[in-house]
């Protein structure tokens, strides 16, 4: 068993590094200091951390104003509240306004498992992906999380970083370089392509190992940038394998699967399966239990890939 990491640690460390190098960087939170793991940032830069209290609309508006005043605000709060409660501010004050603000949605997806669907954030990719000008990134491991933070700090414009608190292994080699808008091919294979994002990338890699035992070579593609999507990588995956399975810890409506399907059907149509939460509110259970419940496991991904290949063969 490889070592597991909480990506929030890499997020917080990278943000402190970035803030040391760029005095314009500030943090805005909604009483989310602990859940964002930003106590170290507060100790290092007490003046540069603005806590607006439990007020997400104001939090995003304040960030837009700080950006107007020349700052680079990183807004960090639980993803369900940040994205849903403040969606109009995200659209108007940040994206439409091209404000230099970085949204960091913590504990996204099913990470708040037992707390229930009020606290699940399985719609945030659909909401944010629909908005023009907004770059949407879902890092898969600590290395990629840190690099995404630095890229967001370096590049101008509004970003949404979707950060999980679910433990994940390092899926990239130490010399990996995150490139905005570019997918990373973690495994080659010509029978089926598994396109995954965030915490599902490690599980897709495990699924590919299982499929190899079945004699099926699966490509594994980490789609860390959801918008702008790497269309060339999607087309390449369709062309090489002729079958695509997308995997996300998100509703199947409007997330990674939808984004990939939009490219596939209009460029190089191949059969697909879209794995995620099937358009329901999740029952009670731990994050691990819920992933199992929805088949978002190596075995579940393997089963979906096998079913897809069987259905294609029968056509």
């Amino acid at each position: 068993m490889s070592q597991l990491y909480d990506c929030r640690d890499a997020f917080a460390q990278a943000l402190e590094e970035a803030a040391r190098n760029d005095p314009r960087i500030v943090v805005v939170i909604n009483d989310s200091l602990g859940s964002s793991k930003l106590k170290g940032f507060k100790t290092a830069f007490p003046q540069r951390l603005v806590n607006v209290g439990i007020a997400e609309q104001n939090m995003v508006g304040v960030a837009a104003g700080l950006a107007n005043g020349g700052k680079i605000p990183f807004v960090s709060g639980a993803s369900p509240f940040l994205t849903a409660r403040a969606l109009e501010q995200i659209k108007v004050d940040l994206a439409y306004s091209q404000a230099n603000v970085k949204l960091c949605g913590m504990s996204s997806g099913l990470a708040y498992g037992e707390l229930g669907p009020t606290h699940h954030s399985i719609e945030d990719l659909a909401w944010t992906r629909a908005i023009a000008n907004l770059t949407v990134i879902v890092p898969a491991d600590p290395l990629e999380t840190a690099q995404a933070v630095h890229e967001a700090a370096r590049l101008s414009g509004p970003f949404f970083l979707r950060i999980s608190r679910m433990p994940v292994p390092q899926v990239h080699p130490a010399d990996y370089r995150f490139r905005l808008g570019k997918a990373s091919w973690l495994r080659q294979g010509s029978d089926v392509a598994l396109i995954a994002t965030g915490v599902m990338v490690a599980r897709a890699l495990e699924a590919a190992a299982l499929l190899a035992n079945d004699g099926i070579e699966a490509a594994v593609i980490n789609m860390a940038t959801i918008r702008p999507l790497d269309r060339e990588a999607v087309i390449e995956a369709a062309r090489r394998s002729g079958a695509i399975v997308t995997v996300e810890e998100h509703t199947v409506y409007g997330g990674l699967g939808g984004a990939v399907a939009e490219v596939v059907v209009t460029t190089y149509p191949v059969p697909m399966r879209i794995l995620g939460v099937p358009g329901v509110f999740a029952p009670t259970g731990s994050p691990e239990y819920l992933l199992e419940h929805f088949g978002l496991t190596p075995a579940g991904i393997r089963a979906a890939a096998l079913e897809l290949l069987k259905a294609r063969a029968e056509q």
Binding site: V26, Q57, M59, V60, G69, G70, K71, Q89, S97
Partner: protein, 280 residues
């Protein structure tokens, strides 16, 4: 009052009268607009842009400029007329208002129009942005100030009160909110829709320094807005009592003129009234 002050007040009144005429023609031409709210806000805008704000149309992005945020974005017409007159863009461009591909949208777009600090339209967005701007100035120890103009009906949006709490908590005395208290919202008086009063008490309870003023009285507006400090450590709230449709008798205080477009005959009558108005 000194002669200089009298002259300044007369010049501001003439300026506002001119801008009301232009706004009327602009809305008439576009066949759309929010003339009632434009006219209630115009004296405030003219006071700010011609006597208070430190802005330079040659350098619209100067870091140390004062920030003015129009939270009631539907009154873009009043803002466009004002900042065009200041020199941020040619007044001839006002003819494109709401025409295809014009940068003069029905609501202001900061990415396209020089001098526009915030893209607004949905209500309740301006004050949070203003709080952020004021915090940025505070962090830098900079002297520039932030002004936000809100409508009154717009204060029914909860985001304003989130921002009001934060501004007081952070002691942002470099932030001024001006409330265009024309007492009418889209379809009815505010007090018949969702009551705002006692409005001054609410802002005081939230920790703000509050002043009340006739929003068409230039001497009073200048006295309030040119004063650097009201109460140290408190953000400033100026409740400006105004009249929707101010300047035109048949529009004044008439809820119908929220976004009605004058007929050619009404426009001519309105222009006639404005031309005949004797100021200073």
């Amino acid at each position: 009052m000194t002669q200089d002050r009298e002259d300044q007040l007369a010049a501001l009144r003439r300026k506002a009268n001119l801008l009301r005429q232009r706004d009327l023609v602009m809305i008439q031409r576009a066949g759309m607009g929010h003339i009632g709210g434009d006219f209630s806000a115009l004296d405030i805008l003219v006071t700010l842009y011609f006597a208070v704000l430190r802005v330079d149309p040659q350098h619209p992005d100067a870091p140390d400029r004062d920030r003015f945020i129009l939270s009631k974005g539907h009154c873009a017409g009043a803002l466009y007329n004002t900042i065009a007159e200041v020199g941020f863009f040619p007044t001839s461009e006002l003819e494109t208002f709401m025409k295809p591909l014009s940068r003069l949208n029905g609501h202001p777009d900061r990415t396209k129009v020089p001098g526009v600090e915030a893209s607004t339209g949905p209500l309740g967005h301006g004050l949070p942005i203003g709080v952020g701007a004021a915090l940025a100035a505070r962090l830098d120890g900079a002297a520039w100030r932030t002004y936000v103009l809100t409508g009154d009906g717009e204060l029914q949006e909860g985001s304003n009160w989130e921002a009001a709490m934060a501004a007081a908590h952070y002691g942002l005395d470099n932030l001024t909110v001006i409330i265009d208290r024309n007492r009418l919202q889209q379809g009815a008086p505010t007090e018949d829709t969702i009551r705002l009063e006692p409005l001054a008490d609410k802002w005081r309870a939230f920790g703000w320094a509050v002043r009340e003023v006739d929003g068409h009285d230039y001497a009073a507006l200048l006295e309030m807005l040119q004063s650097e400090s009201w109460e140290p450590g408190r953000p400033r709230c100026l409740i400006a009592y105004t009249h929707k449709g101010q300047g035109v008798s048949f529009m004044c205080d008439n809820v119908d003129w929220h976004h009605r477009v004058p007929t050619p005959e009404e426009a001519e009558r309105a222009l006639q009234e404005l031309r005949e108005a004797v100021y200073g």
